[in-house]
Structures are given as structure tokens and as C-alpha cells.
Amino acid sequence: MSGLGIFQDLFSAAVAVGTPILFTAIGEIIAEKSGVQNLGLEGMMYMGAITAFLSGLALTSSGLPSTTALIIVIILAAIVGALVASIHAFLCLSLRANQIVSGLALSILGTGLSYYIGKVFISDPTAIIKTRLTQFTFADAVQIPVVGEILRIFLNQDILVYLAYIMVILVWFYMYKTQKGLDLRAIGENPGAADAVGVNVKLSRYVYVMIGGAFAGIGGSALIISASSVGQWGQGMVAGRGWIAIALVIFARWNPKLVIWGAYLFGVAIALVSRAQVYGWFNNIYILNMVPYVATIVVLMVTFIFSKNKDIGEPEALGKPYDREER
């Protein structure tokens, strides 16, 4: 294969496998910007995945057109993700529980519950979603040699990848260009001030935590029905992607425009595992598997060293419960 072909293959795989992490990380940015940290991403991804798996099994064989069926699957996964996140919201916002403890509990709960629900399907080799999303391209219109090939990396993907591009732009626009977005950032920075100007802090936080959960649910569904997935349920299948998403949020300094590159960087690390061996670049699997995590640590270090005392973007009130009475 030509150099350009290898490059294209590596990076288009990176975009595809980075997408589930991207969705989850965008959701966490929204929740954290409102001041609520949710460490339950792994659990919410599992719940999104099992929802996508069960509804996908039922709907793709129900006679519905496959695209319609798969869109319903994505919506259902988002709803379940939001419902799971509402547990976290209730515990942290209404009962004022510690966000870290509640998030960890949510992670364990979501993982365990999805294992329990999915148990019967593991012994059944026919339990596999045969119609998954397929790739389609917008890049054919561009006939310029190298540019066309590079565009193909981003524009020969499935619908979830395109949805992720749109979401990054939408979330960025919402957060930085709208009044509601300003309120969102305000309740994460200084909830007291936001409250004083009439923003309902508790309600807003509820909504944003649940939106964050919906994104994680979609991220989980991508592991089941995207073109890069297998359509099979299995324990351990989320494999720490929820935790990587948490690191990515810091990596991206709570900025949706940066998180997309972070997610694809992790995608490159995953895609490199096989490409580096296939093309004989590097073949120590132990070290290859460390790359994403070493990259996280290095980037975190660089982020903190270069920002010195400057703001790295962490919301001021992150993790702190807000109570009117205690102002």
C-alpha cells in the first residue's frame, strides 16, 4: 500500500474508533461546565451499549427500514444514558452527596446492571446485530489528488461520526455564543452569581447532567452499532473508554473544539496497535497498549506546566454542591 494509503487507513480508523469516546467526552464537558463532575461515564456507556444491543436486536429484525431502526436505537440509548445520569443528579443535587463517590457508584452500578441484563445473550451466538451503520462518503465530489484523500479520512464514515462533528460545533456554539450557554458556564463558575441574576441553578444542573448522560449513552451505542463495531454484546466491551473520556475533558481544557482532536488522538493510539505491527513500525504490544495512557499523562503534564498559574479552564465550582442557604 502506498504511503498515502497507509496514512488514510490509519487516520480514518482513528476517527471511527475515537467517536464513542468523543461523544462521551462532549457530554462530560457539558456536565462539568455546569459544575457537576460525573465519574460514572463508564457505567453510562455500558447502559447505552446494552440498550443499543437489545433494541438493535429487536428493531433491525422488525421490518423497519434499517436506518430508521438504527436512529431509534441511538435515541433510546441516549434516553437510557440520561436516566442513569439522573440518579447521579438526584444524589448530588437533591441529596448533596459527594460527586466523586456518587460517580464511582454509578460506574459500578451501570456496569453491573448491564452485565446482568446482557447475561443471557452471551451464551447465544446468534445474538448479533447484523445490520449496523454503514459508511458513506461526501468526499467523491473533491477530485483534487491529495486533498481528496485527506478529506476521505473524515468524510467516508458512518452517520454517528458525522453526528459527532455536528455536536462538537453545536455544543461549542451553544456554550460560547448563546445566552443559555453563558448561564451554563456561569453556574459552573459562580452559581451564587448566576442565582442572583435569576438562573435556576439546581434545575439547570439537573438538565445538563442528564444531557451529559445522553451523550455517554450515544457513545455506548456507537460501540454496538457503528460501522467500526461488531454488533455483539460482551462483558468488558467498553474497556475503560469511559475513564479515558474523563481524562480527555481535562486534556481538552473543557473546550469542545479541543476535545475532538483529543478523542481522535486516542483513536490513533487504538488504530496504531495493529497498524504498527502490520507495517513493521513497532511490535511491542505492551508498549503500544500503553501509548494512550502515556499520552494522557504527558498531555496533562504539558497542559499544567504551560498554563502555570493561568486558568486551564476548570470550572471554579466544579464538584462543589450549591445551596442557596449557605451563601
Binding site: I122, G236, V278
Partner: protein, 362 residues
């Protein structure tokens, strides 16, 4: 007040623990205990054992034998406690399905001479302790023959799990099968360091397919590599269980475990006392491993099945697939002509044979 509450709670806990200890169930059934490293839901190793035990018990009679399971047992002192708990519940035969239980099971076997112990993949035995394992590489050899005859690019991809002797032996067995029918084919190995990550394993196969491989074999428990091969319009070889249903247009055949073959005989020997301490390490001839029948929707050439059958008959007749001269993939002779690898050599095999394009990470 608080102290009374705590006291009450402590008493309640003590009472409930002691009640748990009282559960013995009906005693007329023969009780078989097993400790699993994972959960049967992992779709791979533990699942294959669980299916084997259940099938064996069904064959003997569910009214005669009862299975007691301990899941997620770690390979440390807690495995000893888990097995003690099984013995306390009346189990007379204990199966342990992971290597790291070895020293604990040896101690327990000495402590409980009236209980029969069976340890999978270990090497220490006692009067009441047997070991058992299977030569899946023989089944892989057969699937390698199919792969070697079906490849057109003469490049076969192998998505490998962890760099341990069991996986290495499988790759070597497969490659020897490939090379027995196709001297110019090579087997390209990509490691994932996973047992279960569908996306990573599928992506590894995609890398191999892009590089020109047209048959994909695998060691992990997911269908990822099979699906990747089907999506690319190429072929695949499965493992663990029959993977044809995952990718009916790609899967040629699968190397599979049939643990019930061993479990039925082992449980019976414990029931009637005919138990004799042994190191069971068998293959195709006993049926504990097998290659599934070729997928005739894809393979129209019936001579391939007959070539596989001929090799199967030869192995069942006592042929050791690791018979010299065998070179490793750096050209060094590892098994001289006329010699065969012993079981001990097989169990510690950490080199690739000639024809494997890959390295074992150190």
C-alpha cells in the same frame, strides 16, 4: 442508643452468616464444585468450561449430579477458601479451571484425601489430584490446512491475544497446517493484548486485511475479526466455539473446545471411585478439541474437506504435528528431524515456527 443499634446489627449479621452456613440442600445428589477465574458470561474460556460441565451433567443425569459454582475466584489464598466452601457444602469432586490455583489445590488435596481434585492447565498431581488440558493446536492445524488452501494472496492474518505459550502454540499449530499444504503462504501475527474488546480486535483484523491478508484467524472471544473479514469480502477462521453464525459469508471453519468429553468421564470416575491420578493432555483423538465441518456455502471444492479429514485421521492415529525438522522463523532449527516436541516442550513453547511473520514481544 447508638450502641444498642450497633449491637443489634452485629447480632443480625452473625445470625444471617450462621444461617448461610446451614444451607446444605438435598444430599442424595453427587455434588460437583467448580471455581472459575471469571464468569461464564465472558463468552470464552469460562463459558466453554461452564458449557462443558453442564453438558456432562446432563449426560450423566441432572437427578444424580448437582453443580456448585464459585465465580470470579482470584488466583490467591481466596481460591483456597472458595474450594473449602465447596467442600463444606458437600462437594466430592472439585474442578479448578485456571493455572494459578495450582499450589492451593495441592495443599487442599493433601488436607482432604476423601475429595477428588481436577486442575486445568497445571502440572502438579497427587493421589487425589489430576490435571487436564487440551491440544487445541491440533484443531488449529486442521483449520490451517483450510486457510492454506483457500488463500489466494498467500498472506494469512492472525489476530493474537496475549503473548503466552498457549497462544503461541496455537499460532504455530495453525501455521504448520497452512504450510503442510501451501509452502509459499505466510501467517502474519498482530497482537491485541486483549481477550475481549470487539472494536480493537476488529480493527486489528482490518489492519491485516488492508495489508493484503485474505484469510483471518483469531484467538480472542469476540466475533470482531470474523465480522471484519466478512465486511471486506474475505475469509475467516474461528476459535472457541463455532463462529459460523457470526459471519456466515466469511467463516470457513472454527477450532473448538469440547470440554464435556473430559468432564463426563472425570465426574463419573469420581462418582464410582474409579478415579486414578493422571495428567490428561489430549487432542483430536479423544474429541476434547475439534475443527468444525467446513462451511460448504463458501467452499465448493470437496477435496479440501477430504484433505482436512485425512490430516485429522493421521493425527488421531498418533501423528504429532510438532515433528522435526522444524525451524523457528529466524531460521534456527528448534526440533531436529525425526524428533517430536514433548508435552513439556509444548506447554512452554515461546518461539514462532517458520512461516510466521511476527515477533513475540518480550
Amino acid at each position: 442508643m447508638k450502641k444498642i443499634l450497633w449491637l443489634g446489627l452485629a447480632l443480625f449479621l452473625m445470625a444471617s452468616f450462621s444461617l448461610v452456613g446451614c444451607q446444605t440442600g438435598d444430599s442424595d445428589k453427587f455434588k460437583v464444585g467448580v471455581i472459575y477465574i471469571g464468569e461464564p458470561g465472558d463468552a470464552g474460556w469460562t463459558y466453554a468450561h461452564d458449557q462443558g460441565l453442564k453438558a456432562a451433567i446432563k449426560a450423566i443425569g441432572e437427578d444424580k449430579v448437582e453443580l456448585v459454582v464459585q465465580q470470579n475466584v482470584k488466583e490467591d489464598q481466596s481460591s483456597s477458601q472458595a474450594m473449602e466452601a465447596l467442600i463444606n457444602q458437600g462437594c466430592k469432586a472439585i474442578f479448578a479451571t485456571s493455572y494459578g490455583y495450582m499450589d492451593y489445590i495441592v495443599d487442599l488435596a493433601a488436607k482432604h484425601p476423601d475429595v477428588y481434585f481436577f486442575h486445568c492447565s497445571g502440572y502438579k498431581t497427587a493421589d487425589n489430584l489430576s490435571t487436564y488440558f487440551g491440544k487445541i493446536e491440533q484443531a488449529r492445524y486442521l483449520t490451517g490446512i483450510t486457510a492454506g488452501l483457500m488463500t489466494k494472496s498467500n498472506k494469512i492474518g492472525y489476530v493474537a491475544a496475549m503473548p503466552i505459550p498457549e497462544v503461541v502454540r496455537g499460532i504455530n499449530g495453525f501455521t504448520l497446517g497452512v504450510r503442510s499444504v501451501n509452502q509459499s503462504a505466510t501467517v502474519k501475527v498482530v497482537w491485541t493484548n486483549t481477550w475481549y474488546d470487539p472494536q480493537v480486535e476488529k480493527d486489528a483484523a482490518i489492519g491485516l486485511l488492508k495489508d493484503g491478508c485474505d484469510v483471518i484467524a483469531q484467538h480472542q472471544d469476540t466475533a470482531g475479526p470474523q465480522i471484519a473479514a466478512q465486511d471486506a469480502g474475505k475469509y475467516s477462521v474461528g476459535y472457541n466455539s463455532d463462529m459460523k453464525s457470526f459471519a456466515p459469508k466469511a467463516n470457513l471453519t472454527s477450532a473448538i473446545w469440547n470440554w464435556e468429553v473430559y468432564y463426563e468421564a472425570a465426574i463419573k470416575s469420581a462418582m464410582d471411585g474409579s478415579f486414578a491420578s493422571a495428567q490428561y493432555f489430549e487432542g483430536l483423538d479423544k474429541g476434547v478439541v475439534a475443527a468444525t465441518k467446513l462451511n460448504t456455502d463458501i467452499i465448493k471444492d470437496t477435496t479440501i474437506q477430504s484433505k482436512v479429514d485425512a490430516a485429522e485421521a493421521k493425527i488421531k492415529g498418533g501423528y504429532n504435528i510438532f515433528t522435526g525438522p522444524i525451524k523457528d522463523n529466524t531460521g534456527k532449527e528448534v526440533i531436529p528431524a525425526g524428533k517430536s516436541a514433548t508435552d513439556t516442550e509444548l506447554l512452554s513453547m515461546m518461539y514462532f515456527v517458520e512461516g510466521v511473520d511476527g515477533v513475540i514481544p518480550k
